[in-house]
């Protein structure tokens, strides 16, 4: 590993260590200017979030002013409480959590079980069934929503948690992702457990699942975020505020409240918290998950 040229280092050399190394040789202005400029770009990039937060803290009649002002005559923290109570925003959050948690559970359980069968068990038609799974990955959600709506009507599920959760909990993606990961786990690990008399379920739970934890974690977080952010399907299948998830609630809020921008910004900020917190807590896993698989759609 050559680090003496200082052009481009392998990623494995920590940035801080290499910067330290460089500083002792001679002071480079280039990297410092580059870092400052990058920070300026980042601040511009984050400005919409900042403006949303500032607006959420303004009194109602001071949202618009010429020239624009960052801070109003008072810091109106009560806007957050008002937004929470105005529409049943608390209810939207609960619905969103219930749907996202249930959806994630169903996705993880069903795809873990199926991925194990595809990766480890021999049965007739295995390859053919798997190819059918794979071929549906290409099909956009839009092809499914129209007949799915009719199906939900037939089942009597319109405007229910079941309709929000189940239709999208069995897509091939999770099974595909976990199967690929399971295939990379050495069989010796399981054979040792089998020799000790463990059944398949125990092997799956005590050997495979712990080994595959990073993959399962990434799949869980992206599934949760996808459910939390989902909009088109809730817009189709939900028709009361009581069943609305967060994005749908925000949209209803928009329709009803017209120009209550300070409350809408407060509500929007609240709606961003769960995904933002997850991203910050699990960033390393997620960043690598995306880099490896392009997970999550966009």
């Amino acid at each position: 590993m050559t680090t003496d040229v200082g052009v481009s280092r392998p990623a494995s050399v920590p940035a801080a260590a290499s910067a330290h190394h460089r500083r002792h040789r001679r002071v480079h202005l280039g990297p410092i200017i580059s870092q400052v400029l990058l920070t300026v770009v980042l601040l511009f990039f984050l400005a919409p979030f900042l403006w949303a937060l500032l607006t959420a803290l303004k009194p109602a009649d001071e949202v618009f002013s010429t020239p624009p002002k960052a801070i109003g005559s008072e810091i109106a923290w009560h806007n957050f409480a008002d937004a929470w109570n105005f529409l049943p925003f608390g209810r939207f959050m609960v619905n969103g959590l219930v749907v996202s948690v249930l959806g994630t559970l169903v996705v993880i359980v069903s795809s873990t079980l199926a991925a194990y069968a595809f990766a480890r068990l021999r049965f007739r038609g295995r390859e053919r069934i798997f190819v059918v799974y794979l071929s549906t990955l290409m099909i956009p959600q839009e092809v499914l929503v129209v007949p799915m709506f009719i199906l939900m009507q037939q089942l009597g599920w319109v405007n229910s948690y079941a309709a929000l959760v189940l239709p999208w909990a069995f897509t091939a993606f999770g099974t595909f992702l976990l199967r690929q990961f399971f295939l990379g786990i050495p069989r010796e690990l399981e054979e040792a457990a089998m020799v000790d008399g463990a059944g398949r379920i125990r092997v799956l739970l005590q050997v495979i699942v712990p080994t595959a934890k990073p993959a399962i974690a990434v799949l869980s977080v992206f599934t949760f975020i996808n459910y939390w952010n989902s909009f088109l399907w809730p817009l189709i299948i939900v028709n009361t505020a009581e069943m609305a998830t967060v994005p749908l609630g925000l949209n209803m809020f928009r329709g009803q409240q017209g120009n209550q921008w300070h409350l809408m910004m407060a509500a929007s900020i609240i709606s961003m918290v769960p995904s933002a917190v997850m991203l910050l807590l699990l960033q390393r896993h997620l960043v690598r998950g995306i880099a490896l698989s392009g997970l999550g759609g966009r």
């Binding site: 052009v7 049965f123 129209v146 966009r298």
Partner: protein, 314 residues
């Protein structure tokens, strides 16, 4: 994520005698059906059945209430031949893709290069540039609506800088689509940035150093050494971004409602309006299949064209 070498799994246990093997195989198949039951039931009910349903519905006049009737290709001919709005919508979607795709790729590549290992706390920059990709798109779009609305902050800044009235960004045919594209790039480029960033980290430094010794400047090094090495990631990013950008819905739905007129209405907005506001389910299903065929076609073109520019050999 440490992925063990798959080759290690190739060693198989010695084969048992035939009779025992038959019993074991039957046992294994039974176990497999147990493991697959949940996933297969859901997959059949919520993926296969709707796919077939959608295909059937596309050939029917299918109102939500009332009689449905088989109409052959009439839904498709309505869309492709006689509905001028559909043509506008198709054009709008293509325009969105043509503007969005290159902007997304250039911005994500530029930032991936910029956030090199030399940058301190690069993880922080990566995560923050990725942030809008995970926050709810509806919330993001509502925030941008506030920025761009008349008397909003962009409007105000425009007035202070130029002294003249700003255009109505979301309400003018000249500006609306541009705003939808810019907001979409802001929201979505983080994915490709992370993909490119990982690929850049994997570029062998010896190659770049050799080129430097040979006298190649940074721009030359990027275009002749780094970019060809990144072509598989580029192919992946372009393909995925193409597929998802044809499905654009939330950004124009929230920002402009498809307006002014139908100047920012996209294919999926059209599908939603036809299917769930006008309740012509057959026509909506046909729209979905047109979308799918377009996506398939551009993906196929990508795969055919990749031989010319994607280098998989190391």
């Amino acid at each position: 994520m440490a992925i063990p070498i798959p080759g290690a799994a190739a060693r198989l246990a010695p084969a048992p005698p035939p009779a025992e093997r038959g019993a074991a195989a039957r046992h294994e198949a039974r176990a497999a059906s147990g493991f697959l039951a949940l996933s297969m039931a859901g997959f059949l009910a919520f993926t296969i059945l709707p796919i077939i349903g959608s295909l059937v519905m596309a050939f029917f006049d299918w109102p939500v209430f009332g009689d449905r009737s088989f109409t052959g290709l009439s839904n498709f001919s309505t869309l492709l031949r006689s509905d001028p709005v559909f043509h506008r919508v198709l054009g709008n979607t293509v325009l969105f893709v043509v503007l969005y795709l290159p902007l997304n790729i250039v911005v994500s590549m530029a930032l991936a290069v910029w956030i090199s290992p030399k940058v301190r706390a690069r993880g922080v920059y990566r995560v923050l540039f990725f942030l809008p990709a995970v926050t709810p798109m509806v919330a993001n779009a509502i925030v941008w609506q506030l920025l761009l609305t008349p008397r909003g902050v962009v409007d105000g800044l425009w007035k202070s800088v130029t002294g003249s009235d700003a255009p109505n960004f979301l309400g003018s045919t000249t500006w609306a689509m541009g705003c939808v594209v810019v907001m979409s790039v802001w929201q979505g480029f983080g994915y490709n940035m992370l993909v490119f960033s990982a690929a850049l980290d994997a570029v062998p430094s010896t190659l770049v150093e050799a080129a430097t010794v040979d006298g190649a400047g940074p721009i030359r090094r990027f275009f002749t050494i780094v970019l060809p090495l990144l072509s598989p990631s580029m192919f992946f990013a372009v393909t995925m971004t193409l597929i998802t950008s044809f499905q654009v819905f939330i950004q124009p739905y929230i920002l402009t409602g498809g307006g002014p007129g139908v100047s920012t209405e996209t294919l999926v907005m059209y599908l939603y309006r036809i299917g769930f506001e006008q309740f012509q389910m057959g026509l909506a299903a046909a729209t979905a299949w047109v979308l799918f065929i377009i996506i398939m076609a551009v993906t196929a073109l990508q795969f055919i064209g990749q031989k010319r520019w994607v280098h998989y050999d190391n």
